[in-house]
Structure formats: C-alpha cells, structure tokens
C-alpha cells in the first residue's frame, strides 16, 4: 500500500510537454480543490477554463474553514507518521473509506504544507520561526497547521493566488458568475459542459477533453446547515443524471457546536469552533420541569444548583467527557432535547458552560483562548458567554458522500473527474477535523495533475468543439428546463419548498434515522417534488440576474438528491459514523456497524426519471488496519 501511489504514478501514461497545450480542461468550481487543480494543470501546460458561480474564486466556501489542516509532518516529534494519519482517518471514518485513497491522502499531506508556505500562506509560527501545530478534533498528536481561526481562508487565498497567476498568463480563462447546468457527453466520454451566465442569462456551451467537478458538498439539502447560501449539488447531480454514480449519499456530518436556531427566519447556522469543548462543559437541566421553566423564563440559569444540572457527556463518557467525537456529541444533544430537557425558547439547544473554566483559569485566560469566538457569539445571539452559558445545537456541516470516483478521481463517466468535497473518496462515514482542507488541496495540487495525464494520453488531441450536435441538444434541454421553471407561475416561493425539504431531511435523515421515518420521508419528498413542479413561483426572466431562478434550479436538484439520500440510508442497515440508524445500536446506545454485510461503498446509478436507482457495491477490503468498534467510555 505504501508503494501504491509511487508505482501508480510511474505506470500512468504521460502527455508529452509539447502536446499538453493541445488539451483543454474544464474545471467547475474554484474552491480549494478547483482553484488548486486549475492552477496546477495550467502550470503543466494544459488550457484550462475555470467556472465559478461566485463573482470571484475567493468567495468559495472553503474560505470558511476555521480550525486547520492536517499533515503528517511530525514536526512536533510526537510520533506522527503517514501511517498514523492514514490509520486515524480510516478509523475516524468508521472503516467506510478506501484504504489506498486514504493512504495517498496522508502521503501527499506533507507536500501541501510545503506548497502553501511557498505561496506565502502565513501559517502560525513559534517564536523560533518554525511552524506551529496544535492537536485538533481529539487527535493524539499535534499535526494540525493553522492560520489563526481562518485557515480555510488563507489556504483558499493561496490557491486563488496561484489561479490568478495563471489567469494573468492566459493559461486559465476564468468565467465568474457562470453556473454549470449540465455535462455534455460524446461517445460515452465527458466532452464539455453547458453553462448559464448568471448576469445575462446566456446559455453557453464549452468543449474540452476532460471535465473536473470541484463543486463542494450538498449539506444545503437540509436548508439549514453551516454551508454557504450558494452551496449546491447541481453540478454533481447533473453529472449523476448523465451516468456518474453517486456514492454514499447518506453520509453527512453533523457538527455539535453550532449556534442554535432562533426562529423561522433563520437562513443558515453558524459554527463555533470545536475547540470550545476543551474548556466548556455541556449540560442541560436534570429534570424536564426545570427545563420547561427555563424555556418560559420562569427561572434563570443561575437558579439551577449543581445537582439540578446534568453534565450528560461527562456522565456517559467519563474518560472522554466533553471531548467525544462530533457524531457522539451531536447525538447525545439530540437525545436530551428529545427527552424535553433542551433549553432556548425552541427547546433545541444545550448549554456549553464556561463558568467553571473561568473560575479555574480566570477570565483573562479564557478571553485569550476564545475571545473572538465569544465576541462572535455575542454578536449573533446578543448574550454574553462570560456571564451566561452559551447555547449550542448540532447542525449539518459536511457531506462525506458524493460522486463515486476511482483511484484516479475519475467518475464512472470517462473524462469526468470529481475532486474535494464533491467526491466521496476519503472520509468514509465520518470526517475528522482539519481533514477537509487537506483533501481538497491533495486532490487539486497533487493527485489530479498526475492522474489526468493517464486519461488524456489515451485521448487524441484532436480539438473537440462546440459545433458537435450534442452540445446544441444539451443546451436546448437546459433552456427548456429554465423555461419550464419560469412558466409554472405557481403560488409558493422557492424557499418555501427548500425549507420544507430541509425539515423532512432533518427530521428523518438527520442525526438519527429509522427505517420507518425514512420511508415516510421518501413519500413526503416525492409529494413535495410534485408540488414543486406544479406550484413553484419563479419571477422575472432568464435574461437578467435572477436569484430566484438560480435557486429554483438548485432546489429542484436537492429535491431529487434528498430521495436518494433517504434510499441510501434505508439500504444501509447498520450504524456507522455520521449514519446512525436507531435500530442498529449497542445496548449502550453506540453505533453498531455491520462489517459482514455493509463494508462496501454504495454507488448509485441513475436509471431515468421516476425509476428506482440501481445500487452498485464496491467492497471495501482492509489489509492494513483491523476493524474495531469505536469506544469513548
């Protein structure tokens, strides 16, 4: 396994340097994966067209990652190694990721840090001038590199600068405010895309020898998530409908420390760094009665004595306490709220209390560690966490599932690649903290530049151009769909449907799932989808900046994806990582995997409108790690 990537690179075919300029590559999405891939491919000599629906590549949601990026540098001399990072990632993913991919990820992680530093990314440093590290997400070693609480921002701006440099040389042509609407296939290969110019509405076609989808995750299917408002599944879903398998769609990560929902107007959820759990204690009132009084404002937090408080994580998991992994912390918060012991007006929140930490270390120490987070919390909620405990609740954060890709990151459509969060590849059923940035950049800087050569070397450099009838045909289909959305003239807004879908998904396909709930969700989604296509109201025309039209496209795709997620969750009769089926748990209430029957990747094939998708299984073989049950008692 350790040799596999090296050997694979050697065995991959190469494109002659002089021939590289004859190949065109389309990159959709310019976040960490997209920008790094576009820049690296252009440096190699390929002609790249990069597309983003934002006004600038610097807006991609990679920018919001706070914590850091893992790399097996072992700069801290604390026993880290490529194998350990690999092992932690596989184990953290609850043994539902491919060994070889994860090992490669750990292997190239070290080069990412070198690359970013060379680009001028201002990582945190020690006084001696060397790079600083911290431990993150319960890892036993300090392998996380960071730039204050804005690591994602700095890494994205690094990739953006590399991309900008190629735009300046003319090797990358950038298409901002341009959204991909479909993939164009010629003779079974991806040969281009159809886009919509978001300002003029022009439907345009772009041909290339290969297409890379680096379009992020689909957490917004839940309406409320920590994703940016624009995050969507459209590009990946269009590719799926053209034949790319969609893998493990039900694997979604719920992050335990988000600011709770304050009302129906809520548009998104804000993540508070996981590091808060290092000093904050999670609790709810021990009795339902007190919780209710608290919600109604009849008593104050300070009225609750020590014995009236239930520090449920510390009680249930004495050795890990408040630092249990994300999925465990999230689920337990849900349990206590379901019991009626939740706080906040909605009853959907638990306390994260710094009272004892402030008493122990003094306000100043806590302020140094978390000052900016406390300020942010205060700004959003209007409450001062130095005085009253914070309130938190879990929220959808990351989607491990995505387009199925092989070791080369190619989907089941030849010539169509998927990178970063958009693919399913490296995190199994649960992603570790500080690994998303690592994967996005690994795919873009160090994997796809090698693997794409193998495909292109076998593709004749003959120019593909947009005059092929297939382009006109797909463009026509896109226009018809736009037209259909604009002419429904229904009564309900796009957000109405999105919110409804989000509720269904959150209630039945969220933190805890049951076969019964999932079946109900499936029926509800089908109903909602019908209603959407009959009663949605999209104003304006195509030939202008039209935010409701943009959103309508995206929500229409979410309405289809949602059903597939439910199907996948229903199929996976086990609990693993972010997928928790209530029927499958240990007597202590922990996730119960079924390695016998479900150690596989579920890759779904689209079979046509209204048809059930076909399940393909890629068995997962573990030769280098031993499958164990996670325990945090």
């Amino acid at each position: 396994m350790a040799e596999k990537w090296t050997k694979h690179k050697f065995n991959s075919k190469l494109v002659n340097p002089a021939n590289k300029r004859k190949y065109d590559v389309i990159v959709v999405g310019t976040g960490l994966a997209g920008a790094s891939a576009a820049a690296s491919l252009a440096e190699l000599g390929y002609n790249v067209k990069a597309f983003t629906f934002h006004d600038s590549p610097r807006r991609a949601h990679s920018i919001a990652a706070q914590g850091g990026i893992n790399a097996a540098k072992n700069y801290q001399n604390d026993g880290d190694s490529i194998f350990r990072l690999f092992y932690d990632t596989i184990k953290g993913g609850d043994y539902r990721a491919r060994e070889a991919n994860v090992y490669r990820l750990a292997e190239v992680s070290v080069k990412i840090i070198d690359q970013c530093v060379a680009q001028g990314v201002p990582f945190a440093r020690e006084y001696g001038g060397l790079l600083a590290n911290r431990s993150f997400g319960g890892a036993q070693v300090s392998r996380t590199f960071y730039a204050r609480g804005q690591t994602g921002q700095q890494l994205l701006l690094g990739a953006y600068s590399a991309l900008s440099r190629q735009v300046a040389t003319g090797k990358v042509r950038l298409y901002p405010r341009t959204e991909m609407m479909d993939v164009v296939m010629i003779d079974g290969h991806a040969r281009g895309i159809v886009t919509r110019n978001l300002i003029t509405g022009a439907v345009e076609t772009h041909a290339a020898h290969a297409v890379l989808l680096c379009t992020g995750g689909y957490g917004n299917v839940f309406f409320l998530s920590t994703n940016a408002m624009g995050c969507n599944v459209t590009a990946a879903w269009r590719a799926h409908k053209r034949g790319a398998y969609f893998a493990n769609p039900c694997f979604t990560q719920i992050h335990p420390t988000c600011i709770p929902v304050s009302g129906d107007h809520q548009s998104k959820l804000t993540l508070m760094s996981e590091s808060l759990r290092n000093d904050g204690r999670v609790w709810v009132p021990a009795t339902k009665e007190n919780a209710e009084k608290l919600r109604k404002g009849q008593i104050k937090v300070s009225d609750l004595k020590e014995e009236d408080r239930d520090y449920f994580l510390e009680r249930k998991y004495p050795s890990f306490g408040n630092l249990v992994p994300r999925d465990v912390a999230s689920r337990n918060a849900k349990y206590v709220c379901d019991e009626g012991r939740g706080v906040n007006e909605t009853g959907e929140a638990v306390f994260l209390d710094f009272r004892d930490a402030i008493k122990r270390d003094g306000k100043q120490v806590i302020e140094q560690k978390y000052g900016n987070l406390f300020d942010m919390y205060k700004q959003i909620t209007g409450e001062d966490p130095y005085e009253v405990p914070m309130m938190i609740y879990p929220a959808v954060h990351y989607t491990m599932g995505g387009l199925w890709v092989d070791y080369n990151l190619m989907t089941t459509i030849p010539g169509l690649y998927s990178l970063g969060e958009a693919n399913f590849s490296d995190h199994g059923a649960n992603r570790l903290g500080a690994s998303a940035l690592m994967q996005g950049l690994a795919d873009g800087y160090f994997v796809v530049p090698y693997t794409i050569g193998d495909y292109l070397a076998q593709t004749p450099p003959k120019k593909v151009d947009e005059s092929h009838p297939e382009f006109a045909k797909v463009a026509q289909e896109v226009k018809a769909r736009i037209n259909r959305l604009l002419t429904i003239n229904g009564k309900k807004t796009v957000d109405h449907f999105h919110k409804k879908l989000g509720k269904i998904m959150w209630n039945h396909c969220g933190m805890a799932r049951t076969a019964e709930g999932l079946k109900q969700a499936k029926a509800e989604i089908q109903e909602l989808r019908k209603e959407f296509w009959a009663d949605v109201k999209v104003l304006g025309t195509n030939e202008e900046l039209n935010l409701s039209l943009e959103k309508a496209h995206r929500v229409a795709d979410f309405l289809e994806l949602g059903e597939l997620m439910v199907d996948d969750a229903l199929n996976r009769d086990e609990s693993c990582g972010g997928h928790f089926r209530e029927e499958y748990q240990t007597p202590e209430g922990e996730a119960l995997r079924d390695d016998e029957n479900f150690a596989y990747v579920a890759a779904w094939k689209y079979m046509g409108e209204g048809q059930a998708e076909e399940l393909n299984k890629e068995p997962l073989v573990f030769e280098n790690v031993k499958l164990t049950q996670r325990s945090y008692k």
Partner: protein, 249 residues
C-alpha cells in the same frame, strides 16, 4: 419591530435606478440584517414583485461577498460584515437607507449587486508568489519570525469585500491593494518579486479607476477585519523604493 426600508433598485447596469420604499413588519431583533431582507424578498415574491437582489454567501463574515451601504456606512453601524449585523442594532420604527457600493470601478449589476472583479484583476497583476506546484522547499526550511508572520497574517485577513473602497471619499482601493502587497513583502517567500509586484499592482489599481488616498483613515475604521492603514504606508514605501531601484524603465 416595524421598519421602513429605502432601497436602491436598478434593473441592470444600464438602467438609471432609483430608491424604492418598503415597509417591513414582524422583524425580530434576533434576525440578521440579510435575514430581514430575506423576509422582505419572500413577501415581494409572493406579491409578484421582483425581489431585491443583493450579494451574499457564507453569512458568517468571511467570504466577503455581502456588501450594502446601510444608513450611510458600509456594512452598517457596526465594524463587521453585513451578514453579521443583527436587527438589534436598529430601533423600532426606523427608516433604513440601503445603497450599493458606489465606485466607478464597481459598477452596479442589479439593485445592490456590484461587480468587484477589479479586485481580482489587481491580484492577477501580481498578488502571488511565482511558484509552480511541487518542487518547493520544506515548509520549515526558511524560518519566519513570529512577529513578521503575525503582521503578514494581519494583512492577509482581508476578505476582499470592498468596504474600504465604499467608505473612502475617493473610492480608493489602497487598503485592499496594500494588504496583499504587505503580506507578501513581509514574508521571505515574497522577496524575489517584491519590487515588480508593488509596481504592477499599483499600476493595475490605477488602471481600474480607483481614487487616490487622502489618508482619512475611513477604510481602516470601516474594515470588518480591522486591516490597518500601516499597510498603506508600507505599500507606499515598497512602491517608491521599487520605482527608484527596480530594473523596469
């Protein structure tokens, strides 16, 4: 809360545009400013009127996409991004004026949406280190003093929202440009192209039609990330020493 919104409406870049007034009821103090606009847009859509277009994305203060000149200040009364502004900063019954960023280099696309690609072109002119992927030295090969790394990070925090341009009486992009020039001038990795970078980025900034700097400090006071005008001084130094000593005649 009940509010009156006076919002700039403009169909497209060639339309002349003007203000429209909308009353909004049922505004909760816990709403963010953009959620308040979401509510307005839902109401407008239900009535069959074109919703108000505005840029936004992450809604957590980091992507730099949201803008809006609210009651005479970029991003409103607090030194933060519009998405992090909450309605508790306003009073019941207040009239809120919402305008787009105003600058020749930021033409209005529609309503409150402006085109900020000028910023991208400034970065494309030289806001990077010319290194290809791979073949770079080990990350710890060149030590960087913590103080320098911290200063570089202070500058690198810029989110490219354009509030500095919007706040400046001259619509100058000095704070934005200087933040990137500073970051790379401070770090050892940026040394090789230090002079050319300053010259090229300043030239591009001028070509985009931004104004000059009068050192009023308005940019710094309104920057949601608190980028300091010491960066402007540093860019001036970089630029003057570059034009005096570089090989570009």
């Amino acid at each position: 809360m009940k509010l009156t919104l006076k919002i700039w409406r403009q169909k497209n870049s060639s339309d002349k545009g003007g203000f429209a007034t909308y009353p909004v009821d049922h505004v909760s103090k816990d709403m963010s400013f953009l959620e308040m606009l979401d509510v307005l847009n839902e109401e407008l859509t239900e009535k069959g009127e074109d919703p108000v277009h505005f840029d936004h994305d992450c809604r957590e203060g980091i992507c730099g996409m949201c803008s809006l000149y609210i009651n005479g200040k970029p991003h409103g009364p607090l030194q933060t991004t519009t998405c992090q502004l909450h309605m508790r900063s306003f009073n019941d019954g207040e009239t809120i004026t919402i305008e787009p960023w105003r600058a020749k280099a930021f033409p209005v696309v529609k309503d409150l949406v402006v085109d900020r690609e000028a910023f991208d072109r400034i970065i494309q002119a030289g806001g990077y280190v010319n290194v290809n992927t791979g073949g770079v030295p080990d990350a710890n090969e060149i030590p960087v003093a913590k103080t320098i790394a911290d200063l570089a990070m202070d500058a690198a925090q810029c989110i490219g929202c354009g509030a500095c341009v919007a706040a400046c009486k001259n619509a100058s992009a000095m704070l934005f440009t200087s933040a990137k020039v500073s970051q790379l001038a401070l770090l050892p990795q940026g040394q090789v192209e230090r002079k050319t970078r300053a010259e090229k980025m300043v030239a591009q900034m001028d070509a985009e039609g931004f104004g000059a700097c009068t050192n009023t400090g308005a940019c710094e006071a309104e920057c949601p990330k608190g980028i300091s005008i010491t960066n402007i001084a540093r860019m001036n130094r970089e630029y003057f020493s570059a034009v005096m000593s570089s090989d570009n005649v």
